[in-house]
Amino acid sequence: MIPLNDVVGLAAVIFAVGAVGVLVRKNPLVMFMAAEMMWNAAALVFVAYARSFHAMTGQVMAFIIIGTAAAEVGIGLAIIVSVYHHRHRLDIDEVSQLKG
């Protein structure tokens, strides 16, 4: 059985990779994938602790995270597609009209 510390450490690494990915990439599709990695790191932590504590609540949270992430992807991809239809380019810094 893999020790808890290793799993949480892996999750931390995945989360950090995802966070850096969101911050440095300019293509919204790639940013989305990076954000998915952050979601999954969180889900992994839940599952790991659930197994460690012999409790089901963490696994339930993992399912909720998967469901929420799916919904978020659905909306996000729709927005990205419609932005692409308008501009025929994908660059997050160009979509910056909404400002004070």
Binding site: L23, D93, S96
Partner: protein, 626 residues
């Protein structure tokens, strides 16, 4: 309850249907429909009164609760209707005279574009007035009281394109609101003390109370302030003269026959309270007598046919309150009844004259109309004889009953004022009659075009004229009819009609006859102009109602205006502070706005940095990082 709700609801139904469907109705229908409903209401009132008459025992009351209105805190307040012999008299006059005036209005308003609106208002007024007299407690009475004020406002300002009419309506409403406040405070006092404002409850309490405490004086006085405003007693009287801006049937119905006598109704209804408040009781009589002679003096030199009648109404209301002040309750109700007949007749006849002269109201343009309008002239003459107190016309009996009781109860000074005023009344009423119907025409062109009113107008006038002649015969009936209403509670021994000393009657009638002769000599033999006597000091002041409007402006209106302006300045200062606060917040927000750059990655970085900072803070706090 049997039948009371129908009496009340029918006029309201008329007002609602005419308002809702006036676009669909043919031109003449609103008037006919409104008159029909009030006439049916009159028949139902007769039936209800017959039921009251057949009740056995000393308690001639039909009463019932429509619904429980205010429950849950303190004593419950019911929406209660209450019919006893006193409200029965009012019921008959309101619906009976009201129906006649509705029928008259069909002719008077036939070419007015606002005719449906007029009849809707008129029916609404009848409903409100019936609610006032059928109320079973003071709160329901106050609702009716306020609604008749509203109806009066709407009808005085009926021709709203005239600035004078709008101003008069506003004046009437404001002055009446003053009275409403008085009633509200008075009934609040009674409610706090007795935990209820229903009549039976209050009468029960009054019959066990000892007279003379300040509590009774104040509650009676506050309720009297309400009656004072509604019945135009001095010093709250000026609105009634201005109210003549409304159409003439309105003046006849509201400002002569019914609404202005609501104060008389309230005072006679609450007479057990008056007997507990001797100072207020005396005050009512004194103010009544003063109003009578004051208004009679103002009526002497008025130039407008309706203004003379308005001030004579004031004067007669003064008589009614004089009667209340000397405990002549039955006599006051009797005078209310005969006054409703002869004054409605006078106003409607004056309306026919105005109608025949195509809207002219100035006495200086009239004269010699007797041949042109014989029926109107005959009715006007009958009503004039009645108001002047010439026997055997109706006014003689009721006025004599009030004056007789004033003398019998030892109020010799008030009696003297009343007798003198009776002479003045005869003078100005015959001056009005002579100037309108006799003498030479002062405007030949108008005179040539003058014509008798159509039948729909003449018949109600003649009916009221006949009632003005024979109305005195109701006195004996009224005496027996009202006995249960006034004899139910102790201390009402003098409520019934009494006759005064013979010499008093002789003096009164002699004064009236002398006044008649003087008026005849002045205005028929010597053909004095209506304007004569108004240039010099007393006549000038009488014409302008002794300057009471100016006094009110100086004492009440202008100080209140100053207070209002001061309050306005204070408010503007406070509002300036509020505005400054808002401006500060706005400029702060403008300074912060550039933070929202629109770059999503910058937001993500900010969130991330914040999250890391929070994490670091907690890690340091638990000692993970040192």
């Amino acid at each position: 309850m049997q039948g009371l709700v129908e009496i009340l609801v029918l006029p309201l139904l008329g007002a609602a249907t005419i308002t809702a469907f006036k676009g669909l109705m043919p031109k003449k229908l609103p008037g006919i429909w409104a008159s029909l409903l009030v006439a049916v209401s009159f028949l139902l009132s007769i039936l209800a009164d017959r039921r009251v008459a057949t009740l056995s025992g000393s308690h001639h009351v039909i009463t019932g609760v429509l619904w429980n209105w205010v429950t849950g805190f303190g004593a419950a307040i019911h929406f209660r209707l209450y019919l006893d012999p006193l409200s029965a008299v009012w019921l008959l006059i309101i619906t009976g005279v009201g129906a006649l005036i509705h029928i008259y209005s069909i002719g008077y308003m036939h070419d007015d574009a606002g005719q449906p609106r007029f009849f809707a208002y008129l029916n609404f007024f009848i409903f409100s007035m019936l609610l006032l007299v059928l109320a079973g407690n003071l709160i329901v009475l106050l609702i009716g009281w306020a609604l008749v004020g509203l109806a009066s406002y709407l009808l005085i300002g009926f021709w709203y394109e005239r600035p004078t009419a709008v101003a008069a309506a506003k004046k009437a409403f404001v002055m009446n609101t003053l009275g409403d406040v008085g009633i509200l405070l008075g009934l609040a006092l009674l409610y706090i003390h007795y935990h209820g404002v229903g009549y039976p409850h209050l009468f029960q309490a009054f019959s066990q109370a000892k007279p003379g405490s300040a509590f009774f004086e104040w509650s009676a006085f506050l309720l009297y302030v309400g009656a004072m405003a509604k019945s135009a007693q001095f010093p709250l009287h000026m609105w009634l003269a201005d109210a003549m801006e409304g159409p003439t049937p309105v003046s006849a119905l509201i400002h002569a026959a019914t609404m202005v006598t609501a104060g008389v109704y309230l005072m006679t209804r609450l007479y057990p309270l008056l007997r507990l408040a001797p100072i207020t009781h005396e005050l009512i009589g004194a103010i009544g007598a003063f109003t009578a002679i004051f208004a009679a003096s103002v009526a002497f030199f008025q130039q407008d046919i309706k203004k003379v009648l308005a001030y004579s109404t004031l004067s007669q209301l003064g008589y009614m309150f004089l009667g209340i002040g000397v405990s002549a309750y039955t006599a006051s109700v009797f005078h209310f009844m005969t006054h409703a007949f002869f004054k409605a007749c006078l106003f409607l006849a004056a309306g026919s004259v105005i109608h025949g002269l195509s809207g002219e109201q100035d006495l200086g343009q009239m004269g010699g109309l007797a041949r042109k309008m014989p029926w109107t002239m005959a009715s006007f003459l009958a009503a004039t004889l009645a108001i002047s107190g010439i026997p055997p016309f109706s006014g003689y009996f009721s006025k004599e009953a009030i004056l007789g009781q004033a003398y019998n109860s030892g109020h010799y000074f008030l009696w003297g004022i009343g007798v003198f005023t009776a002479g003045m009344t005869a003078f100005y009423m015959f001056r009005l009659f002579f100037l309108t119907f006799l003498g030479k025409p002062r405007n030949q062109k108008l005179h040539d075009h003058a014509h008798e009113a159509p039948l729909v107008m003449t018949i109600p006038v003649v009916i009221l004229g006949v009632l003005a002649v024979v109305g005195g015969a109701f006195g004996g009936w009224l005496n027996g009819w009202l006995k249960p209403a006034f004899a139910l509670y102790p201390g009402a021994a003098h409520a019934a009609l009494e006759s005064g000393p013979l010499f008093g009657t002789i003096v009164t009638v002699a004064l009236a006859v002398v006044a008649f002769i003087v008026a005849f000599l002045l205005y028929v033999r010597r053909d004095t102009a209506p304007k004569a006597g108004t240039e010099q000091a007393p006549g000038h002041w009488m014409l302008h109602a002794w300057g009471m409007d100016l006094v009110w402006m100086a004492i009440v209106v202008n100080p209140l205006k100053l207070v209002g302006q001061a309050m306005g300045a204070v408010e503007r200062t406070i509002l300036a502070g509020v505005t400054g606060l808002a401006a500060g917040v706005q400029s702060w927000a403008t300074d912060l706005a550039p933070i929202q750059t629109g770059y999503v990655r910058r937001y993500a970085l900010s969130i991330m940095v914040g999250g890391v900072a929070l994490l670091a803070y907690y890690l340091i706090r638990i000692g993970f990082i040192s």
